[in-house]
Symmetry: C2
């Protein structure tokens, strides 16, 4: 296995004002590192860490993904990736709920736990409960020496390096990437992935680091918007499909460090109640990267616009047509739908950062929160 | 089948200031009506409507529950009931998401769609998509002549009578009851329900109408609290397990008619980010009816109290000990855990109602919302 050591200069801020901003900008590198040694010359995905376990996932009939907070949001995207590429049914659970809800687990169940620190108390307890019930457990974690890595059957380390800011950024995107690699790996074992999509996915993965760099270069596009929302009481994120999962993460990021009450909604669900909260100038951030759901999401944008909302759209380069519905747009480079979350989350991380900076908050250590939640 | 006709006086407010309050108070009756003719002398559950379909659910291996808004929240509770009593895996999906996410459906899949009006566009489309993919579809709806009832394979009508207020109350509790009856029915077919629990459940169901009356008699307990939150910018609902599902519905109710930005959280998930939003006097409504999770939820209450929150606890009669953690308490009568949501939601409906009344809002016709969402 490729070994990437953590150096002392990784825990200093360098040119950046905050660890969070530094970590956001490290993402091209941490994505490269997380791919390193895991895609071979024939574009197959392999995990040197899983080599001793070859064939271990052949009989898996059901997968649970169990995590908390940001890692849970990574799991929502990861679950969709796995189902799409392998057609194994996946269910995502919040760890503090999963433990107590008497889940249906057999010896053909794989439980994937996700935790940056590998010490999240509820996730560790869910891991133990899953093993007790006969499931195999795979851990996706950033700390290979952690309790969760130690107690799992299999481990896929993310290569994000030390994450200091409480609000997770580079750990999240490497978790998404690890899920994508694992989905392809599983699909190779199950032979459920066509050659064409396989090639497109690997090509798409390899392009990600440079694409994230490009999103970071355009940081100013969202900076003004971020500063303009600092006095908002409420803010909403909307999206459909994977865009909804990313919206959940964008909303959590903003809450954690800006203390603005934001909430993410599946775009089609707004009119079943929450539309009542939209009034003149309520900021709404709309993710529109699922181009096959474009018309549907645009019609939801029009619903909030009709009530006076101010809409920032996040969409794919070239889709200038969205300006007919949204007030402002931030573009991300084109990618496969399954990979778009890794790009789309970056402007949301920047919005959270710059809004909090404008508010003068303690960005790296937000009030009330701990980096690693080791209590239940 | 028992036939209950809708009378003209059901669509007048009578002694009540608003349809919503009238409908909240009708719940003892609508629960009785929804049970009527469905529990026989030997305490078995039978649905005259499903008699021609006897044995139809024998081979079901997987159940999806698909709905929008309040009906989706009913599905979250219903899914837990079905899994608990039958051990068939259940997954709940928002209809506008389910349609487009390429769900894994076989001819052994049952899709349960839930809609008060039976005309919800996304739910109807999900029904069609499910049937196209080979699933059987069961509809739980309040309007047996609706499109959803017409196009489903099986229908369980709820007997809530006409619901006029946009914010659904009696339809929700009859949906919960219908799910409970169906869970027992399915467990009878599958022989997965022990005699003792069966007897306790049926006894618990029969007690519900009188217990809801009792909760309504104590409406004043929550009225003062409701009036006190009218100027809050943000409010949080927390709970674990079924209490979390009820919290989601309580939060939606409050949003719909008070326009206060409230949000529901699985209690164990707060410290993964949202705790940052809790400050002095932030109102938090904590549902604590899962007595086996009592200590865990109380520790989450202490977390928000430590940040200055003002906590209203909803718990089971006799549990005065909660006053050591919460500032105020509203009691509900003791019941089986699976049935507690039907009782616990009632004070939340009243809180939404009285907060909105204090705000002078148009309670029966909140801004921006339609009773039946027939667009996508």
């Amino acid at each position: 296995p490729v070994r990437i050591d953590w150096h002392a200069d990784q825990v200093e801020k360098g040119q950046f004002e905050h660890f969070m901003l530094k970590e956001i900008h490290e993402q091209p590198l941490t994505l490269r590192n997380t791919m390193l040694g895991r895609i071979n010359d024939r574009d197959e995905v392999s995990f040197p860490e899983l080599a001793p376990a070859a064939g271990a996932f052949k009989d898996v009939e059901k997968i649970f993904i169990v995590a908390c907070g940001t890692a849970y949001h990574a799991g929502l995207v990861g679950g969709a990736m796995i189902e799409k590429l392998t057609r194994i049914p996946v269910q995502c659970d919040i760890a503090s709920e999963f433990r107590y809800r008497d889940p249906i687990i057999t010896d053909r169940t794989l439980v994937v736990v996700v935790s940056q620190s590998g010490e999240t108390a509820d996730t560790l307890a869910a891991l133990h409960e899953s093993r007790r019930r006969g499931a195999k457990v795979l851990a996706i974690t950033n700390v290979p020496t952690s309790s969760i890595a130690r107690d799992a059957d299999f481990v896929i380390p993310t290569m994000a390096g030390p994450e200091i800011a409480v609000a997770s950024t580079k750990a999240y995107t490497t978790q998404l990437l690890a899920f994508c690699l694992f989905s392809i790996y599983l699909a190779q074992e199950k032979r459920t992935l066509g050659q064409k999509l396989h090639a497109e996915l690997v090509q798409g993965l390899k392009a990600l680091p440079v694409q994230v760099e490009k999103v970071l270069e355009n940081a100013n596009e969202v900076k003004l918007f971020a500063e303009s929302i600092k006095d908002a009481d409420s803010l909403f994120f909307i999206g459909r499909g994977l865009d909804y999962a990313v919206a959940l993460e964008g909303s959590l990021k903003l809450k954690e460090i800006s203390y603005i009450h934001s909430e993410a909604y599946a775009a089609g669900e707004l009119k079943h109640g929450t539309l009542a909260l939209i009034e003149k100038d309520t900021p709404v951030i709309a993710l529109v990267t699922h181009m096959e759901l474009y018309e549907k999401t645009v019609s939801n944008i029009k619903e909030v616009k009709a009530r006076g909302a101010r809409v920032m759209g996040i969409t794919v380069e070239g889709n200038v047509e969205l300006l007919n519905a949204a007030d402002e747009i931030c573009f991300i480079p084109p990618s496969l739908q399954l990979l778009a979350p890794i790009l789309a989350v970056v402007p949301l991380q920047l919005i959270a950062y710059y809004a909090s900076l404008a508010l003068g908050n303690d960005i790296d250590k937000p009030r009330n929160l701990a980096k690693s939640v080791t209590v239940e």
